[in-house]
């Protein structure tokens, strides 16, 4: 279990340098599947790996700035807010990311689970 700033909700998922630039990576954690992106700006963002339209896997989409295009039907999704861009609608879950000591952590554990872990 990753322990970041003494807060147990964070899970370590990868080394920062191992993530390819301007692409997505599939990350599974328990029954969740995430798409983690390292942008050209260097920023890391994480969203649920499932387009609200027809369940496209977003990790494989083309990344542009802070957006990803769903590989199935080209819905454009804002990686920061999770919002599908007009004229389409919908949204995907987003996750908080933190990078420390070259490691990428994602806030994956719900509060109750943390309690259980403790």
């Amino acid at each position: 279990m990753g322990n970041l700033k003494g807060d147990n909700s964070w899970v370590e998922v990868a080394k920062y340098d191992d993530l390819p630039v301007n692409s997505g990576k599939t990350v599974r954690f328990k029954d969740k599947e995430l798409a983690v992106f390292r942008l050209t700006s260097g920023k890391i963002l994480a969203i649920e790996n499932r387009c609200p339209h027809k369940d496209g896997v977003l990790a494989e989409g083309i990344v542009s700035g802070e957006y990803v295009f769903c590989p199935l039907h080209d819905r454009k999704i804002d990686l920061t807010s999770g919002l599908v861009q007009l004229p389409d609608t919908g949204c995907v879950e987003t996750f908080d990311v933190s990078v420390e000591d070259g490691k990428v952590y994602i806030a994956l554990l719900e509060k109750s689970e943390i309690a259980a872990v403790k």
Binding site: A14, S23, T26, V27, G61, I62, S64, G65, F69, L72
Partner: protein, 806 residues
């Protein structure tokens, strides 16, 4: 604060809610609006049900206004409630659940019910109509358990239902009482052509059949006809017509005939009660299509919002069949009569038929089959009653081009006129969006207003509107096909700049050429990546982040996120060793489905991303490129080696071609075929390049396509030797690579450049040699991507790894 007026709408369908949308725009805060709808859904686009049934859309995709929309506009919505009583004296309506609401103004928009033939057995399980989301869901569910559907009614709706069943994997018979399908929309010739092409799609027609009885115990098992014959059926859909929903109005003392009688302002005989849509009858006509209903809605909205309006004087209607693979258009009064003359074009080779009916020198109707691109323009001329005296008769059916606009001027249309029938977007709405939001392309108009989003049939009109609204500005910037919203440049300009400025990276292209969106989008990035590779085959470092998933992963993504793996099998020829290898790998990785493809390959479907590279390593076969904008397959017949008709070694020729051009990137996918004689068993006539052996030589056919838009290939060259086949193919493909727009299939490319032009290039020895030389260079650098992935740990990690976090 003065009390708002109370507006109540009965029927949450297309006409009623469209009227409300208009009212909200005209008088945003004037009304307290309540809508009742029997169906348990928000307002949806009924006409797109056919796409849901055909599997191209989901129910969620066809919702027009979501529940939030009603909330945002303060509309009280009662779904799943049917109004059973209107008290026109006390001005109240009451629902089956006992809800009672009073109104100042009442709109009845109850639509219509499908007409169910009163046949013995019509109440059996499995006998249904096709009107609502429920019907559609019922049919899709039934398709899972049953095999054979019968549609009664060979009209628009029946045929769309039948196409849906084919997509759902059912066998389907269409029973029709007349001897010609869609006889009310098409003349004989077009009807026959339509029947032929639907039969090719797998529909079976039982014409001139009158159903007498529906057979079966509890559930339907078949139909019996008046002539004594019978047919099996697990599911029967009646699509024989509609009956306006007027009972409620009638019981409330509102004047009805076949529909609820309304005047030119959609008023019924009772004050403050209006009717709109399929339930209304105007000047003796009830409409069953959306475009007229939207026109009515626009007039009614103005009437209710107390805005000056011209009266509604009826509509000239047109229909378009929403079945992929066939283009049918019919509008106005298209039947020949004593006082009419017709202009006709009939081309049995390309399956095109066009007929324009003229009365008193005015076009009054048209039927188009195979090529419906003239449809919108002709409709305009019909509506405007354009006088065609002095028009070159043959030009009426040509593309507008130079010909004095052909009367197509969108300027003459009123603002209320519907441009996009599918989504009910009017000229006014499009023009104001163009002005207010500074739109400059059809794409932007689509994103902003949804016009042309569904079937796309109205794109030419939208483009005309852009030109009309923006005037000269439009000519300068947007008339050209810009690559995407990120730039105003078009393909040719970008390629010239890449060459002139020596640009060598996708990012460089975007920044030097002033992209509006720094990192581009999913349209331009793959295109730029392709053009760079085409211009500098030797130097260019492919940018995998600018490739679509399939080309980046070198496997086809499936809808559930798994992939399919298709190994190369030159010319569709294999051997026991390879088959064993494939079988072993398929077993080892539990491949859920193994399928022979249309291109004579073996497709392993349902492979997990993390298994891909291991499978490739064990297969040890080259990638079949079944995923790319690239040379895909060369399909072959057995040819002279085994076939008694063969005049040449088609398998050998196909293998040679495939070995030569495998892995080559092209603007869009390229499928090829080689047949050993003109019997054409490898289907060379519908390939991007089709090769056919003839006595003493080979014929090359270009631009064929067997997909959505069927196109027969054009003969571009006849050559003597196998070497020449390769040489001409090199020149042909290289010319396509250099001049094709990214995403443009050869079928579109050949149409755009003209067959003659392509022939001229191929026959010009000097040009041919230059093209072949450039092709040599392009081919010299290609490597097998599966092997590369297997040999590179970095590629495996970057692209195929899945992290299991703990």
């Amino acid at each position: 604060m003065s009390q708002k007026e109370k507006l109540v709408v009965i029927g949450n369908g297309m006409a009623g809610v469209n009227t409300v949308e208009h009212i909200l725009k005209l008088a945003p805060n004037q009304f307290d609006i309540t809508i009742f709808g029997s169906e348990p859904h928000p307002n949806y686009n009924r006409i797109l049900l056919s796409y849901v049934l055909a599997g191209d859309s989901k129910v969620d995709d066809i919702v027009i206004n979501s529940y939030e929309w009603y909330e945002e506009h303060g509309i009280s919505l009662y779904t799943g409630e049917t109004i059973t009583e209107i008290n026109t004296e006390g001005k109240t309506v009451t629902s089956d659940k006992g809800t009672s609401v009073s109104y100042d103004k009442l709109i009845i928009s109850t639509g219509s019910d499908p007409f169910m033939l009163p046949l013995p057995g019509a109440d059996k399980e499995g006998v249904i109509a096709y009107r609502t989301i429920q019907d559609c869901e019922y049919m899709m569910e039934a398709a899972k358990n049953y095999k054979k559907a019968v549609v009664i009614g060979g009209g628009l709706l029946g045929l769309e239902a039948a196409r849906g069943f084919l997509n759902l994997g059912m066998k389907v018979d269409v029973v029709h009482i007349c001897d010609a399908i869609m006889e009310r929309q098409l003349d004989r010739t077009a009807s026959k052509m339509l029947q032929d092409s639907l039969e090719e799609q797998g529909m079976n027609f039982l014409l001139s059949k009158q159903t007498e009885k529906i057979l079966g115990k509890k559930r339907v098992t078949g139909l019996k006809f008046a002539d004594g014959s019978k047919v099996d059926a697990d599911l029967v859909v009646m699509a024989v017509g509609i009956r306006p929903n007027i009972q409620l109005a009638k019981d409330s003392g509102i004047e009805v005939n076949r529909g609820i009688v309304v005047n030119d302002y959609l008023e019924t005989n009772v004050e403050d009660v209006f009717a709109v849509g399929e339930c209304a009858e105007h000047r003796g006509i009830g409409y069953g299509l959306v475009a007229p209903l939207f026109e009515q809605g626009a007039v009614l909205a103005k009437k209710i919002a107390d805005v000056d309006t011209a009266p509604y004087e009826g509509s000239v209607v047109y229909t378009k069949l929403k079945v992929s693979g066939v283009d049918v258009f019919s509008g106005g009064d298209f039947n020949d009569a004593k006082d009419t003359k017709a202009i006709k074009i009939e081309d049995e080779f390309s399956g095109i038929y066009k007929k324009v009916v003229v009365r008193d020198n005015k076009i009054v109707g048209a039927v188009l089959f195979g090529d419906t691109s003239d449809g919108n323009r002709l409709m305009q001329m019909i509506r405007n009653e354009t006088d065609i005296t002095g028009f070159e008769k043959s030009a009426i059916l040509q593309e507008p081009g130079a010909n004095a606009g052909g009367g197509s001027s969108v300027a003459d249309m009123s603002d209320d006129e519907i441009i996009c029938g599918c989504n009910g977007v009017s000229k006014g709405a499009i023009c104001s969006a163009i002005k207010e939001q500074g739109l400059t392309s059809v794409e932007e108009v689509k994103n902003c207003t949804t016009a042309s989003r569904s079937c796309g049939g109205c794109k030419p009109l939208v483009s005309d509107l852009l030109e009309y609204t923006l005037g000269d500005e439009f000519d300068k910037s947007a008339q050209k096909e810009t690559m995407c919203e990120c730039t105003d440049l078009e393909k040719d300009e970008i390629v010239v700049q890449i060459k002139e400025k020596g640009l060598s990276h996708v990012r460089e292209v975007m920044s030097v050429l002033g992209w509006k969106n720094e990192e581009g989008c999913s349209k331009c990035r793959p295109a730029i990546n392709y053009y760079l590779g085409m211009v500098h085959p030797e130097q260019y470092q492919d940018d995998s982040t600018s490739r679509f998933v399939n080309e980046r992963m070198h496997a086809n993504i499936q809808k559930d996120g798994t992939y399919s793996v298709v190994p190369r099998m030159y010319g569709g020829v294999t051997n026991p060793t390879d088959l064993k290898k494939i079988a072993t790998v398929a077993e080892k990785y539990n491949v859920p489905k193994v399928k022979i493809t249309g291109g004579q390959r073996i497709d392993l479907l349902g492979v997990k991303k993390e298994d891909l590279t291991n499978m490739w390593e064990e297969l040890d076969m080259p990638s079949g490129y079944a995923y790319g904008k690239a040379v895909r397959t060369v399909k072959t017949c057995v040819g002279e080696e085994f076939c008694r008709f063969g005049t040449a070694d088609s398998m050998g020729m196909g293998i040679q071609i495939e070995k030569r051009f495998e892995r080559l990137n092209t603007p869009a996918k390229v499928k090829m075929a080689v047949s050993g004689c003109p019997r054409n068993c490898a289907e060379s006539g519908i390939k991007d390049l089709g090769v056919v052996a003839i006595d003493g030589g080979w014929e090359l056919y270009a631009g064929g396509n067997g997909g959505v838009k069927l196109r027969k290939g054009d003969l571009v060259a006849t050559v003597k030797t196998e070497e020449e086949v390769i040489e001409y193919t090199e020149a042909y493909l290289q010319y396509y690579r250099e001049t094709g727009v990214y995403g443009e299939r050869t079928s579109e490319w050949v149409d755009r450049l003209g067959v003659q032009h392509i022939q001229d290039i191929l026959l010009d020895e000097e040009k041919r040699e230059e093209l072949c030389a450039r092709m040599d260079t392009a081919l010299s650098v290609l490597k097998d991507p599966w092997k590369e992935a297997v040999e590179s740990e970095k590629i495996q990690k970057d692209l195929y790894e899945v992290i299991e976090a703990k």
